[in-house]
Symmetry: C2
Subunit: 140 residues, 2 copies
């Protein structure tokens, strides 16, 4: 019940693995969320017996997943995207397919870029009008 400095090790020896509780806290999501992403095939942590063991690779993926979510992509689409990064690009057909996918993604992202920029600009314009109104109130 007192101060316990030995809470979050367990991977002190390996130095590169984490438990589900640790990654969940690190990314500020619940363990349920992490398991859900695994159910959908977005991450596949190592199993040591029955326990899940997360490596840096899994953390990288989790970061990509959460960023994708912030951008409003559905999880299924996020899966196809990050799978793309790990896809075997040995044969020419595969590489050309991957490059095609990249182009599609980029088109989508550039639309979102415009959306965000427009929204920020409109917000700025709106703020200016509000500050004008405020100025008039001060002036009187």
């Amino acid at each position: 019940m007192t101060s316990d400095t030995s809470t979050t090790h367990r991977s002190s020896r390996t130095g590169e693995t984490w438990t589900i509780a640790q990654v969940a806290e690190a990314f500020d999501v619940t363990h349920r969320t992490v398991r859900h992403y695994e159910d959908l095939g977005l991450i596949s942590p190592e199993r040591r017996g029955t326990q899940r063991v997360y490596h840096r690779r899994d953390r990288t993926r989790l970061g990509l997943i959460l960023r994708g979510k912030r951008l409003g992509f559905p999880l299924e689409e996020i899966r196809t995207i990050i799978d793309l990064f790990d896809a075997p690009r040995g044969r020419r057909t595969q590489l050309e397919y991957v490059l095609d996918q990249i182009d599609e993604r980029r088109t989508d992202l550039e639309q979102r870029l415009r959306d965000v920029q427009d929204a920020i600009a409109e917000l700025g314009e709106f703020e200016r009008r509000c500050r004008d109104d405020l100025g008039r109130l001060d002036h009187v």
Copy 2:
């Protein structure tokens, strides 16, 4: 059953109103979607008898809604944002509240801006690697 050039008028006289079918098609959504937004209070078209009549104001709002959606905002949040634009900002307290909200929104949008830019950058880097791989295949 033959060619019918008189399909989409009905507002020819007023020149500034549309039916639900027309706005739905214009924004490439279903009428169900449009009505759903109305149920949530995101738009409130005029009623002429029982029929909905959409004005430019409603189209503007629809545009904002759909852009908000592309950026991954939930509809409820979108409602509070676009309501903000139409809010009565007469009193100082109101104006200060609005300016606060604007700041919150901007912080959020700037995070998304970074997310999109990072994603595009990573995509570019990934494409470069793929093109390298492709070049090596050509070279052999």
